[in-house]
């Protein structure tokens, strides 16, 4: 144990399964849990929708809620939950000295305005003029702020008063990996004592689906578990709305204020395979080597998206290491893009904390894990680019 270890002292989680670390543990510990699916709203795609959320629990002012669309609300909500869990929320001294790294995409566009413009474009040749005409009159002025990537962090500062520093990383799963990696590096080097890190993804908006489908990444037809989508219609990704925030803290800082520690965050290793050259499987193997996996049976919380090529490469890398017992949580939550890696780390921390492995999420492909997990691997292999892994150790 080192006083500059990075430990996890707060977890905020939201997914179709519910909200909070306890609710997620209870659900995910049930063998044979069925996913919450919504197949009628965005056919031919299935998604995992948000649960019922009482935003007031974490965003007290209605005015603040109105300034955000669902994505920012979701992130601000999950962040508040993590701060609460770590005993930091409402503590001015801890909030004003707290650093923050948020992994973000963009917020929701106004679908009605967009549809209106597109419909009018069928009968107009002066489309650029049409655009000016419609956007200047139909856009809600403050919507821009709900769309800006860095305004999730901005809202967290406003609502929860976290103001030490504020950085927003962009770039799908890789943003989540880099956010956790950078936050951990800051703590290890003594630059920060406590950091809020995480992200959110709200898939219940056609543009968020379009972001995958422009390259045909979405799975179509009947739902299947993550590992079983190869060869099925579409590209293999089933998305879900959700968010994951972690409070990372220097061990000494956490113990001195008497906080409960879920787990220690070990090495976080990131990479950028030249995928077009076919290097992904070798890159994943290299990341696992760099993380220095412990001997013996190893539980792996996999952020596999289901995207055919990336998921096949991750599976091969795991198959080459028979000690690994993988749990692809997106089978039950859907893929949450920027939030994927923080979510994987959170689930790994819960398993270590509860001294028990999750049952298989897919009985056909995943295999049971018998012992008490002292170290758990978390992965996020991007559906298109960037990848990362981390080891989460018993506190």
């Amino acid at each position: 144990m080192n006083p500059h270890d990075v430990v996890i002292t707060g977890i905020g989680l939201v997914s179709s399964l519910g909200e909070g670390p306890d609710a997620h543990w209870q659900k995910l510990a049930q063998p044979g849990l069925e996913p919450v699916l919504e197949a009628s709203r965005f056919p031919p795609y299935t998604i995992h929708p948000l649960p019922e959320i009482d935003w007031n629990l974490q965003i007290a002012k209605r005015g603040d809620q109105r300034q955000m669309e669902t994505w920012q609300r979701l992130g601000t909500y999950a962040a508040g939950m993590a701060l609460d869990d770590a005993g930091i929320k409402g503590n001015d001294e801890l909030c004003t000295t707290m650093d923050m790294v948020v992994a973000a995409g963009g917020g929701e566009r106004d679908e009605a305005v967009d549809a209106d413009i597109l419909a009018a474009s069928e009968s107009r040749n002066d489309r650029d003029v049409l655009l000016n005409e419609k956007l200047t009159t139909e856009l809600r002025p403050t919507l821009f702020l709900a769309q800006l990537s860095n305004l999730l962090a901005g809202n967290i500062s406003i609502v929860h008063k976290v103001t030490g520093s504020s950085r927003t990383f962009m770039g799908e799963e890789g943003a989540g990996v880099a956010a956790v990696e950078t936050a951990a590096a800051r703590i290890r080097s003594g630059q920060s004592t406590h950091i809020l890190v995480g992200g959110a993804f709200q898939t219940e908006h056609s543009d968020m689906l379009l972001g995958y489908e422009l390259a045909g990444y979405l799975h179509r037809g009947a739902w299947k578990p993550v590992w079983q989508r190869q060869g099925a219609e579409g590209g293999g990704v089933v998305t879900g709305s959700g968010g994951a925030f972690l409070v990372l803290e220097q061990r000494e800082h956490a113990t001195s204020r008497g906080r409960r520690i879920y787990a220690e965050l070990g090495p976080v290793v990131s990479g950028r395979a030249r995928r077009r050259l076919g290097g992904l499987e070798a890159e994943i193997a290299a990341l696992l080597r760099q993380a220095a996996l412990p001997n013996g049976e190893l539980l792996a919380i996999s952020g596999a998206s289901g995207a055919h090529a990336a998921t096949a490469a991750e599976k091969s890398a795991f198959d080459a290491n028979p000690a690994i017992a993988a749990r692809a949580f997106s089978t039950l939550t859907g893929h949450m893009k920027e939030a994927q890696f923080p979510f994987a780390v959170a689930l790994a921390a819960l398993a270590v904390d509860r001294k028990a492995a999750y049952p298989v999420f897919d009985a056909t492909v995943e295999r049971p894990f018998g012992g008490v997990p002292k170290t758990v691997l978390a992965t996020a292999i991007g559906y298109h680019q960037f990848e990362g892994v981390a080891l989460v150790n018993a506190a």
């Binding site: 860095n150 406003i158 990479g271």
Partner: protein
């Protein structure tokens, strides 16, 4: 033997390469010539029709091959062009940079031209459903790539051979400074000997302009475009949307000296502080901006009396310039009246995600050339703001240290302190 560590025992971070593109031109030579001549790059918008628009001027970069190809491709070209200049100046292999990449770039969205063409390539369904139907039939990745937040950095990483997972970031108008800060921190932590930090923004689309317009953030002084950006003036009425890029090769002083590189300047300190007051307005007491400036000075190990010049955020909005004056006068006290302060934005407009990097590049050049670029269009002083703004004409001056401010929408404030010489 130079001291290789700073006042806190961390590796000193040197700048060994600088690249810049703005509406004034490509490269340091053209930009510096125009900037010190007090020349404005603000001009009427020609990239798209301006019917129905209140603001019809900008500082767009209209002279690159990608200028009309959409925000993502233009942002890439801006970033690549500035980085090529910086890496070449540093004397490094432009295909094997050998350090991490930190890119400040605007959030991406599917361009309207693509939306229109996708939509009108089919007749079935309406609205988003039709777009999704067309999308799943696409056979190539080009449009998809423009919608992925990590793709510009991924291409740059391929192009320059940077190491590891590239970081793309946004802290709004502070982004460029944050990219530099992340590079500085990575070197200080000993994770690398060098880093490539780029701020690039080619996102001045009609929709972006309209969004800022609807927030009343833009100048509407359309008649004489080069006069529209007038930071700290009494009649300032908003910023001028602009494009550009700045790139720095950052290197530990030790590594730079060991390979015989020319040290162009030192990144002495970085400071930041988030505002929790409002999404577009800063806390009335200016405390977050004040704290960011003080944090940068402390990180640099310099006192308030050791800054020679301030490269202001100076956007030309009523709010920013008032708050920046308040925070600078609070930190620097009476001395503020005699410290030269100027705003590059008076000539190049607000390059948003690129601004912090572009202005860091100009700050470094200010020290190297011993010339302070002016704040142009300073014809109607605001009586509430008494500063030495280097009005309208460049000034020759020995400048050993610079403070460069970047304050963003959403409350993200980042300040950089640069020095000419390692101490």
């Amino acid at each position: 033997m130079a001291n290789l560590n700073d006042h806190m025992g961390r590796p000193i971070v040197a700048v060994t390469g600088i690249g810049v593109v703005t509406s004034l031109g490509v490269g340091k030579a053209d930009n510096w010539g125009a900037l010190t001549a007090g020349q404005s790059g603000i001009h009427p918008i020609t990239r798209f029709p301006v019917d129905h628009l209140n603001t019809r001027i900008s500082g767009m970069v209209d002279f690159l091959p990608s200028s009309s190809k959409g925000a993502s491709l233009l942002t890439y070209e801006l970033a690549e062009t500035a980085a090529q200049e910086a890496v070449a100046e540093a004397g490094l292999n432009s295909g094997d940079f050998g350090g991490p990449l930190f890119l400040a770039s605007p959030p991406v969205e599917l361009d309207w031209s693509e939306r229109f063409s996708l939509y009108n390539s089919d007749k079935q369904d309406i609205g988003a459903e039709r777009l999704l139907r067309v999308a799943r039939g696409l056979k190539e990745f080009a449009i998809f790539e423009t919608t992925q937040f990590g793709s510009i950095a991924d291409r740059l990483a391929d192009q320059f051979g940077t190491r590891g997972l590239p970081i793309t970031l946004s802290t709004a108008c502070a982004s460029g400074a944050t990219a530099i800060q992340l590079g500085v921190e990575a070197i200080r932590r000993g994770e690398c000997d060098r880093a490539l930090s780029i701020g690039a923004d080619g996102s001045a689309t009609a929709e972006a302009l309209i969004r800022f317009s609807l927030l009343s953030a833009l100048s509407t002084h359309n008649d004489i475009p080069e006069k529209a950006s007038k930071p700290f003036s009494k009649d300032r009425d908003g910023f001028v949307l602009a494009e550009g890029s700045g790139a720095l090769v950052l290197e530990s002083l030790e590594a730079a000296l060991a390979r015989g590189a020319t040290v162009l300047g030192i990144l002495r300190g970085c400071g930041e502080k988030a505002d929790d007051f409002h999404r577009t307005r800063s806390k009335p007491d200016g405390s977050p901006a004040i704290a960011a400036v003080r944090a940068a000075l402390a990180d640099a190990g310099l006192g308030e009396d050791e800054i020679d010049y301030v490269n202001a955020h100076g956007t030309s909005t009523p709010e920013n310039d008032k708050m920046e004056h308040l925070s600078l006068s609070t930190v620097f006290g009476e001395r503020i009246g005699s410290m030269p302060i100027s705003s590059n934005k008076s000539m190049i407009g607000h390059t948003l995600s690129a601004a912090g990097a572009v202005e860091a590049a100009f700050s470094l050049m200010t020290m190297r050339e011993s010339v302070i670029p002016p704040t142009i269009n300073y014809d109607n002083p605001d009586p509430a703001i008494v500063l030495d703004l280097v009005p309208n004409k460049k000034r020759n001056a020995e400048v050993g240290t610079v403070l460069s401010n970047s304050f963003g929408f959403g409350g993200q404030n980042t300040c950089l302190v640069m020095a000419r010489e390692p101490v």
